[in-house]
């Protein structure tokens, strides 16, 4: 029978006879994840459900990342309750200083393998699609149910297959590709669907770039963004995981809701202007827009690839005197490797702040929120009104090249104006 990749994954995780778009099925989880925001709300719900223990201690993992290091006493209380709960239930806990931003971390740590189903108490759980897993974001009550029973109800999604063909231009990254997709299908274009990324351009992306693409699938409304596993996936997983997996892909004649092709030669560096990730325009069209703060980090673009790109721009240059630049390595491992490569030194020398791994200011929590009238250029995934602070602030989303160039120029510029494109070719 002809099946899409997501149908194959869900079929392997359900007892339901019928797995076709629109059917409601119960789906078994391989991993259930939550953080200091979604976890504590879920624990209370789980208790009220009457469940005293989790369905499988080996399959539950908690990460302290949103309000870390504790922003205030209330946040410290949340973090305390998260840790205490993990100890009481005997599940894996990545505490402060031991992990980092959940989605980058779980990939690094081998929790995510192709074909797995991962329920996460965070909308960007779709990031795991980068490794061919059905990672999907759920709310706290869903999560409570997952913790208790190891499954969730799911309306089987359809698939929008996106073919990336050709070769990227200099200074174009995974970020630009997903912004191009969102611009094409709209911020609600993926509701009730998964995005599936195929084609020579998709296969040529590194895992870091795939993380950036899959991460923003939810910004198109989609449940996840799947990259079928390939050699790149296998190479990344080697030494990280002992979980069994096998590579699957959609049958060529499977039924897709929509198929679209994006020619990579046609995609320039892009930005998403306030106040929607769908408000996408070429960086050239935003040129000259004054910037007060640059933020390089988050679960989409706080990888080593991003930090290397930012460092390439900032090496030997200074952050514009009017600008604050904040660099947030996504995980401890990324931080440490950046340190080894001298990237942290480059950032400090340029006058940037290097923050600990945290979700921090990305969601307006702490560690770099914006004042009214301020404008930020960030590598994050959301630029909703007030997302990073004051309701009167603005956020532009872009890749790390563009963000770092804005830090130097004090305004939006094409990174090609600062760095030669040969340099951009290597990553």
């Amino acid at each position: 029978m002809r099946q899409t990749l997501v149908e194959k994954i869900l079929r392997a995780h359900t007892d339901a006879a019928e797995v076709s778009p629109g059917e409601i099925i119960m789906v078994r989880c391989d991993v259930v994840m939550a953080n200091d925001v979604s976890g504590p709300v879920a624990f209370r719900a789980m208790e009220r459900m009457g469940a005293r223990r989790v369905f499988d201690q080996e399959k539950v993992v908690m990460v302290a990342d949103h309000f870390t290091p504790a922003k205030d006493a209330a946040s410290a209380g949340l973090l305390r309750s998260l840790e205490d709960w993990c100890v009481a239930h005997g599940v894996t806990f990545y505490g402060q200083g031991r992990g980092g931003i959940e989605h980058t971390l779980l990939c690094e740590e081998g929790w995510v393998v192709p074909g797995a189903v991962i329920a996460g108490g965070d909308s960007h759980t779709c990031t795991y699609g980068a490794l061919g897993a059905f990672g999907t974001g759920l709310g706290s009550t869903d999560l409570a149910f997952c913790l208790a029973f190891g499954e969730f109800w799911e309306v089987v999604p359809g698939t929008i297959q996106v073919a990336f063909e050709g070769r990227k231009r200099p200074f174009v990254t995974g970020k630009d590709l997903i912004l191009a997709v969102i611009a094409h299908i709209g911020v609600a274009g993926g509701v009730d669907q998964v995005l599936e990324f195929v084609g020579s351009g998709a296969e040529s992306l590194t895992v870091d770039e795939r993380l950036a693409v899959a991460n923003m699938a939810v910004e198109a409304g989609a449940e996840t963004g799947l990259f079928p596993a390939d050699e790149t996936t296998a190479a990344y997983l080697r030494g990280r995981t002992t979980r069994p997996w096998k590579a699957e892909r959609s049958d060529p004649d499977a039924s897709f809701v929509q198929r679209l092709c994006i020619r990579l030669e046609e995609v320039p560096p892009l930005v998403a202007a306030p106040h929607s990730p769908g408000n996408v325009l070429p960086v050239e069209e935003a040129r000259g827009t004054r910037i007060d703060q640059v933020y390089i980090g988050n679960c989409a673009n706080g990888t080593l690839t991003d930090l290397r790109q930012a460092a390439e721009v900032l090496r030997g240059r200074r952050v514009h005197p009017r600008v604050r630049a904040i660099v947030v390595p996504a995980t401890r491992a990324v931080y440490r490797q950046a340190l080894r490569e001298g990237l942290i030194e480059v950032f400090l020398e340029a006058g940037a702040i290097v923050a600990p791994p945290t979700c921090g200011a990305c969601f307006g929590g702490h560690m770099g929120v914006l004042a009214g009238g301020e404008r930020a250029m960030t590598t994050t995934n959301r630029n909703f009104r007030g997302r990073m602070g004051s309701r009167e602030s603005e956020v532009y989303l872009a890749n790390a090249w563009v963000a770092a160039a804005a830090a130097v120029a004090g305004e939006i510029v094409n990174p090609a104006e600062l760095v030669s494109s040969e340099v951009a070719g290597w990553s």
Binding site: M49, G50, D122, T141, A188, G365
Partner: protein
């Protein structure tokens, strides 16, 4: 299931969970405290217009963005029992159903409603009445209705743990949304 009430229209499409409940207040776990920040990034004045029988009327892709259940939890803490929308973002929609908060998609009905409109939503007949005019809602699958009727996924789960509600098996839960 029938819900009747008065419309409060939240204008616009793609209204995101960040404006509905901004990030800085995510360190709150008690819904009675969450309710103070509902609509804080959108229009805090909306809180003063909530009545006992308010049914929120919303646009396209309402609740886009974050998985934060704080939004429907705060709505529920205000006594809101139903949201009528042109369409909903996935996680927000799930969260509503899981909390026993009826979320109904009905494009024409949501467009017809004005502030103060009298609404009657009947999941049995599948009809949304707006000041006497009738519109057909997007059918709510029996399984989701069962969760809402139980009072949400918590109550439904309690039933399952107590063995009162059998495990949802293939075929039994299988139905189209």
């Amino acid at each position: 299931m029938v819900v009747e009430g008065t419309a409060l229209v939240i204008p616009g499409d793609h209204v995101d969970t960040d404006v509905l409940y901004p990030g800085p207040y995510l360190n709150i776990v008690d819904p009675q405290q969450m309710k103070r920040y509902l609509f804080e990034g959108l229009d805090p004045g909306l809180r003063d217009r909530l009545r006992e029988d308010t049914i929120l009327v919303v646009g396209e892709n309402f609740g886009a963005g974050s998985s934060r259940e704080h939004v429907p939890l705060a709505m529920q803490a205000w006594g809101i029992r139903c949201v009528l929308g042109r369409s909903f973002a996935r996680i927000f929609y799930r969260n509503c159903i899981n909390l026993g908060l009826l979320a109904v998609s009905c494009r024409e009905g949501a467009e017809a409603a004005r502030d103060g409109s009298w609404l009657r939503i009947d999941t049995g007949s599948g009809l949304v009445e707006v000041d006497g005019r009738r519109f057909r809602m997007r059918a709510l699958p029996d399984f989701l209705l069962e969760i809402v009727r139980a009072g949400g996924l918590e109550a439904w789960a309690r039933g399952r743990l107590a063995g009162q509600s059998s495990r949802v098996e293939a075929g039994q839960a299988s139905q189209r949304r």
